[in-house]
């Protein structure tokens, strides 16, 4: 009788765990401005993997309680599986990037791929927490733990954005003969009068002013700049085509003060919207540098 009761509780716990795991994956699987995953097949892949992750997390608890410690090695199998997810995302996004008018850049792709892997671990965590609490205490504690874990995963879902460490303002685009400037920062040399005319009409400029030393170094990262250009062009549209090598959004640094001058060619000319878009560009994990922390430690 005792044994069957334990089994019933375990089954309930695993079910609650799997349920919360799947809910957590669904909550984190959103089509946002990155436009990915948009298609049903991309979604199906990630939901299926989420179900597997949830099952692994939930089942780990009864395995541990029954002192079946070798079962934990399955988790390493899962880790391997999710690393594959990461490389799958990386290779498919890299392929897609070749035909983008304004590419994402490798740092951004790496960031997205890492995020997909990370979210699967959050699913395992949710399932594990819900399953552990409902098996060790009672089913309602499991549900509470599951809800808490959903809040935690929501917090981890998105990181910081550019607006959190820099001011963004509109800046004037100037053409001095063939030389193109945004504010006082030199962008590039435009040889064709036809291109200059298009830039006069459609070119817009933004100035990103970092608030700290750390922000300066992060903004200087080429991957971070490419991410900014990609997001601006994806959301506001881009006045560009193949065979137009000069109609290209560019971001250049003002070396004197670390400001980033962004030149872009939007279809939607609303500057306020552009400022908002730029503020919401995610800070890439690979771009973050913390020189001020290193200095404090004396290293």
């Amino acid at each position: 009788m005792g044994i069957s009761l334990l089994h019933a509780q375990e089954t309930l716990g695993v079910t609650i765990g799997v349920g919360f795991g799947i809910v957590s994956r669904l909550l984190m699987l959103r089509t946002d401005y990155r436009q990915y995953p948009t298609y049903p097949h991309g979604k199906i892949i990630h939901i299926s993997l989420g179900v597997i992750a949830a099952a692994l997390g939930a089942v780990a608890v009864p395995a541990l309680i029954n002192k079946d410690y070798t079962a934990v090695t399955f988790l390493s199998l899962a880790a391997q599986q999710f690393r594959d997810v990461r490389s799958m995302e990386r290779s498919s996004l890299t392929k897609v990037d070749e035909v983008e008018l304004v590419p994402r850049g490798t740092s951004y792709i790496e960031g997205i791929a890492m995020m997909f892997e990370g979210r699967n671990y959050l699913v395992i965590f949710s399932a594990f927490a819900a399953s552990l609490c409902s098996i060790s205490f009672a089913w309602y504690w499991g549900i509470l733990a599951g809800l808490l874990s959903l809040i935690v995963s929501r917090r981890f879902r998105s990181g910081k954005n550019v607006g959190s460490f820099a001011e963004v303002e509109a800046a004037a685009v100037k053409l001095d003969g063939p030389d193109l400037y945004v504010d006082s920062v030199y962008i590039m040399n435009i040889g064709l009068e036809a291109d200059r005319q298009i830039i006069r009409e459609h070119g817009r400029g933004l100035l990103v002013k970092p608030r700290s030393m750390n922000a300066k170094v992060t903004l200087a990262n080429l991957g971070q700049r490419q991410a900014i250009l990609h997001n601006l062009s994806t959301i506001l549209g881009v006045y560009r085509d193949s065979g137009e090598p000069l109609l290209q959004p560019l971001a250049k640094l003002d070396l004197n003060n670390g400001n980033l001058a962004v030149f872009y060619l939007p279809l939607d000319q609303n500057q306020d919207k552009a400022i908002e878009v730029l503020k919401h560009v995610p800070v890439l994990e690979n771009a973050v540098r913390l020189p001020s922390k290193a200095a404090k430690k004396g290293g």
């Binding site: 003969g177 063939p178 590039m188 040399n189 435009i190 040889g191 064709l192 009068e193 036809a194 291109d195 193949s242 065979g243 137009e244 090598p245 000069l246």
Partner: protein
């Protein structure tokens, strides 16, 4: 990939020389026109070096 000059469009032929194909234009308008066409054909960026010389560069 290092940048490479794909073509030069000059107003004065004696101002330029070297390994890249050189096109001599008679007027500024013609120079702009040749540069425009070549930019589309070569998918190379046109840069104005000085008043009278435009280079097409593969970046």
């Amino acid at each position: 990939m290092p940048a490479k000059i794909a073509a030069i469009i000059a107003l004065q032929a004696n101002n330029v020389g070297g390994g890249a194909p050189i096109f001599v234009a008679e007027s500024k308008e013609q120079q702009q026109q040749v540069a425009f066409t070549l930019e589309k054909i070569l998918d190379a960026a046109a840069h104005e070096l000085n008043d009278g010389t435009i280079i097409l560069v593969h970046h």
